[in-house]
Symmetry: D2
Subunit: 397 residues, 4 copies
């Protein structure tokens, strides 16, 4: 791959496509990341933001300092002064925008899931790799300190060989039947429902922490079959996707697992959760207490054996960007546990993106990771439909 060479520390020039919920988080991350990294070469220039609904683009432009806004994403891909395309549109549009962006020599950061199906995702991944440009899928949880620390503990061998992974991403907000029939409820636009929206994240974390999937056996449920139309709430239309999906998993390593994704399960507010259970220890995490990592070490003496509740501080990966001052002691630890939130997760994603831009290496999570996630989603859908175990097809890229 080619690295990005910038003259005079000029900022990365970005065009963003999609001015919905993600625009705030991406924009803030790009505004602040150079300061947070204390690295002026990590700065972004917010050149143009696009949304088919132009007033949205205008609003976000005014809020976050985008220099221009518009409603035609090709003004971004065609702009020779733009280095990077940041894509946060409905899932079905990622394909065309990505392909055009690569064709025009842009680096691309794309929201998850990469596409609505693995066939398109495969093409996207091939194009990304072939482009020589930096490509990243915004699986934003990987860089989260507690999760990155979990990864480090696993890699150190401290919990031994992984036996089982229990993961879920569960929310309850869509249990409100008055929420209208947005694109996320339409299969052609979203690919899958809860499975594609929140499930993509927990699938990615399972791959990140355990490794590749071999096969899946799944159930899918829809709880609310009709919702008010966005345009006319007095009318209803059919929901086409899952509200909740559960899958048994066999990993290639021989480990097993369960993956659950839901957005209408009362009591679960925003629970990205995992237990990773090895033969020497285990790790637990829940986003509902996202500044904690639970770690059990089987080698502790029985009288003091128990999960440690580790609160995140500057000792943990990524956290040094934020509010954990070094007080000058020899340990270098300083104040711990002030707490970071969802916004910081995105800042850390963009830190990762900057590092990829600098090195020219599209380190994971890249478009191949995006593809793998789509392949797993497809396998889960087939398994549920056919009521049978389904091998996960891993396309060679």
């Amino acid at each position: 791959m080619t690295s990005v060479t910038k003259l005079n520390n000029s900022p990365y020039r970005v065009g963003m496509v999609g001015a919905g919920f993600m625009a705030k988080l991406h924009s803030l991350s790009m505004r602040n990341i150079a300061g947070l990294m204390d690295d002026p070469t990590a700065s972004f220039e917010l050149v143009r933001i696009i949304d088919v609904h132009e007033p949205l683009a205008q609003r976000e432009a005014e809020r976050w300092g985008w220099q221009e806004y518009g409603n035609d994403w090709k003004t971004v891909t065609n702009d020779e002064t733009i280095d990077i395309v940041d894509i946060a549109t409905p899932n079905d549009s990622h394909y065309e925008i990505c392909l055009e962006a690569f064709a025009k020599g842009k680096h691309v950061i794309c929201e998850k899931p990469l596409s609505t199906n693995s066939a398109m995702a495969e093409i996207m991944a091939r194009k990304a790799v072939a482009s020589g440009k930096v490509h990243m899928v915004n699986f934003t949880y990987r860089a989260w300190p507690a999760i990155a620390q979990a990864k480090k503990i696993i890699e150190s061998g401290a919990i031994g060989k992984i036996r089982h992974f229990e993961g879920h991403f569960l929310q309850d907000h869509n249990n409100d039947p008055t929420i209208p029939l947005q694109w996320r409820f339409i299969e052609a636009k979203a690919g899958a429902g809860a499975l594609g929206d929140v499930g993509a994240h927990i699938i990615d974390l399972a791959r990140f922490l355990v490794g590749e999937f071999d096969s899946v056996s799944a159930t899918m449920q829809r709880f609310i079959d009709e919702r008010p139309l966005v345009e006319d709430r007095s009318q209803k239309g059919a929901v086409e996707v899952d509200d909740f999906t559960s899958a048994l998993v066999k990993f290639s390593s021989g480990a097993t697992g369960t993956i659950k994704a839901g957005w209408a399960l009362p009591g679960f507010k925003n629970d990205v959760f995992f237990n990773v259970i090895g033969d020497k220890g285990s790790l637990r995490f829940s986003w509902e207490r996202s500044n904690e990592l639970q770690y059990f070490d089987s080698s502790d003496p029985a009288v003091i054996s128990g999960y440690r509740t580790i609160l995140m501080g500057r000792a943990h990966p990524g956290a040094e960007l934020f509010w954990f001052p070094d007080l000058g002691g020899e340990s270098g630890v300083g104040v711990t546990a002030q707490g970071i939130g969802y916004g910081e997760a995105f800042a850390l994603s963009f830190k990762h993106f900057v590092e990829s831009l600098k090195s020219g290496q599209s380190t994971a999570p890249n478009f191949i990771d995006g593809l793998r996630c789509c392949e797993i989603i497809d396998a889960i859908k087939i398994s549920a439909a056919e009521e049978a175990w389904q091998k996960v097809h891993l396309a060679e890229i």
Copy 2:
């Protein structure tokens, strides 16, 4: 069925078969239950305890006041003065003892799982029903206050229609490879490993809280393939059963679920755990905090919406037997949360048994519940072996 008529409040005369770990808990429960219930008609006379390893029987007899001990269980079934046979032997022996006990007109309380396979369990259930005697399988968690309260909340409709059940019973002690090859590791004696031992409980709770199983898809894992022989620890023999089993479940109601059972998963000490998720609320329980029930009510206003952590007290079913004094206030609530433990779970099982004896009604958990559990265990084993969904066969009794 016939109820037990006792003259002069004479106690129930019991013979116990099996003097292993369960003997202590059963003996104490029977010694104390009349006092705890403050009901002299609930008293048991501990007549005779049997173990093939007679010194064990002697030891337990001396500890708990059994009048006699021996090594031949037929001295119990043949004893016309004995009303009740209490069976806590390895799983493969339940069949013969139960059948003989019913043949001799005894009431029977039997440890779980009822048998090593559903074919034998079916015969046992038929004989139990045909006997007209009281029969109970000691699924001891059903009567636990926090779980009985969960059941009451579900029955009240407060959490609505159940969408998903997530349950596990996970321990880690057998991750110690020096634990010898006891009967629980031999398929012919145990039927299944973790699935039969601890899995039986969580399967029973799933049926108790949600209803009948329709079908299962499962994985089974063995982590430690060989263990030292009990008789000669310098030699090793093959473990034949699962250390960990996971199953996807479809319930007859349309709900889905996952069930996991394991005894060698680091970090899990004794975790009987469930989430029951309905369309209006949800419930959570973990035995590791067994005096708590977590309850989420979707109808709470958003600003105060959250799981309630309910600490058990005399307001909760079964707890009135124990240490929760009524202080004479109009609410009648009194002191809460002194805490009860595993021993009290067995006392509550025997309270249930006494109530069945008095009414002559073998209310659940009876031998039909024991059979259902075996049918589910069998289906899970077949599913794992065939790597396919397996319908649960429900024999008509």
Copy 3:
């Protein structure tokens, strides 16, 4: 002191005075302790139970197998066949019964607080020591596995020099104003309110874990000034004692602390709580999760630094009596975390009493500990009344 020599392992013959709430817990403990300890020499014979309200005594006698009952406690102290007097009456009556019991050569176990004031407690402690008999005050939390383990960790030096102790025993039940004006609300009978009832326990734990008190500064509050009379609920009488007391503490070691005791604080069900903070680590406990001990070790590496949540099992002191089977592995740990409750706390108290009887050594918590607790209660009361620091007077015994 003289040890108790029993011929032929004959049981300890006990007379109990007081058939209120404590009778159940004491009776069960004495019925079961020999079996739990698997030591036939630890058995008690329940000879006679007394209550001024004789029907209460009769009820408890019938429930637990006391051979006789009555309403005159002197029939116990005067009975030459009785070895032990177990006192669970209102606080103001302990003095006379104890003195008579020692005068008649009985061993004595007495409920806490030892007396309604330190002057009487001092006489009781002198008489106890002078008697050469075994004396114990039933500070039942000392022997609880999680707390006994905390003590062991402190003694090991693992948390270093203690800097601060934060302890409370808080309940909410008496926030119900319809609870009638029992003896606990009358100063002459109780000595203090919440401070004497639940505060005695947390004061004792502070002494157990940290050491002697030097001085206190306190506030006392009463929330409910009048309550219905027991005899005639249409009438009300004055509450004379505290509903809630808070004290700053200076320990003799230089450590500081806070002690709080309350029985009418909404949200606290039965919270015996402490943080013990040393210069190398700390310990946390709450009775509301009584099978857990939280342990923080400052020497852990920063990346895995955090409180360990230790679940109690047979590795922990006292727990070996209960439901934690040894499975024959070399570690000897076996199943952990089945859970024990308030009843087991009393069994462990009586185990301690048996050990004192056998050794003839009145190890703590004995009447001197009972005295120290009364001295602290008195100092707290004076401090609150005078709004000034008050030295704790430690009588020489």
Copy 4:
């Protein structure tokens, strides 16, 4: 007071004095707040940042876009184009800078504690009020959603009359004796140690949630008496302040409380903690789980009575600025619990400051709140030194 009238939505022009740890949080907040509030009139222009150590000022200027930097704070107060002075310097310098800023007609936001003693703070508060300008002390926790929600619940009467407040702010980082002798350890510069640094926050929260203090009784401890000099670590100098302070509190309302502040207590990472206990319910909060509020409502039926764990979302005050999308349902609740952190606390402080600037009303926490906090700190210091209850002097402003 006079409100700030800006032409053409021109931004507030700010000069900041102090480029230490707080500079990052203040700078980011001012950069982002207009976007977060979606209000272009809320924007700040970062004109000049000053630090006596000019390279620090330069670094922060370059990171966050301050137009100029320097080492002389009078270039800020003397600059007629600057509207606002933001002060984040050592405590002893606040006085002179504030007085000059007010003299020059600036609005002032000042870090806590307002001053090193209440005598100076009183003058500062008088000058602030007399200036007619907006003044704020950055007690940043007041605006935190979980805490602001607690305040709303208290104001609603839902927990009734407050009986007791238990609060602490405890950290452990300064237990590292190699941390050098910075200004926070010198009484003349800091006023107090842990009490001034973290204690100021919990004192302010006690006032916010309960009301004014009447009197205090306190202990103060120093654990580490000497530390390496900043300039020459081979030399040591004397620590002059407290590492840990505990105080009993009587509030003017009749409620009682305890306040603790420490920065060297192993196990406590960053624990801003409170229990507010009323006669009808109670509230609990810990910064270590800062996106949660625990709420107990005594009016819940006994069978479901328990603390609710409320996870913050857009239903809670202040949270609407962040990552909690409204999904268009009628409830308007949307996704909850993505989590916010310490950075967002400062953004919410600046939101409050903006609102004060717009209204011209220096709503709490203003300089009078800053004064009250200093008065309480002084009373605690006197109480500890004199070992006696100390009335809190409330100067009339």
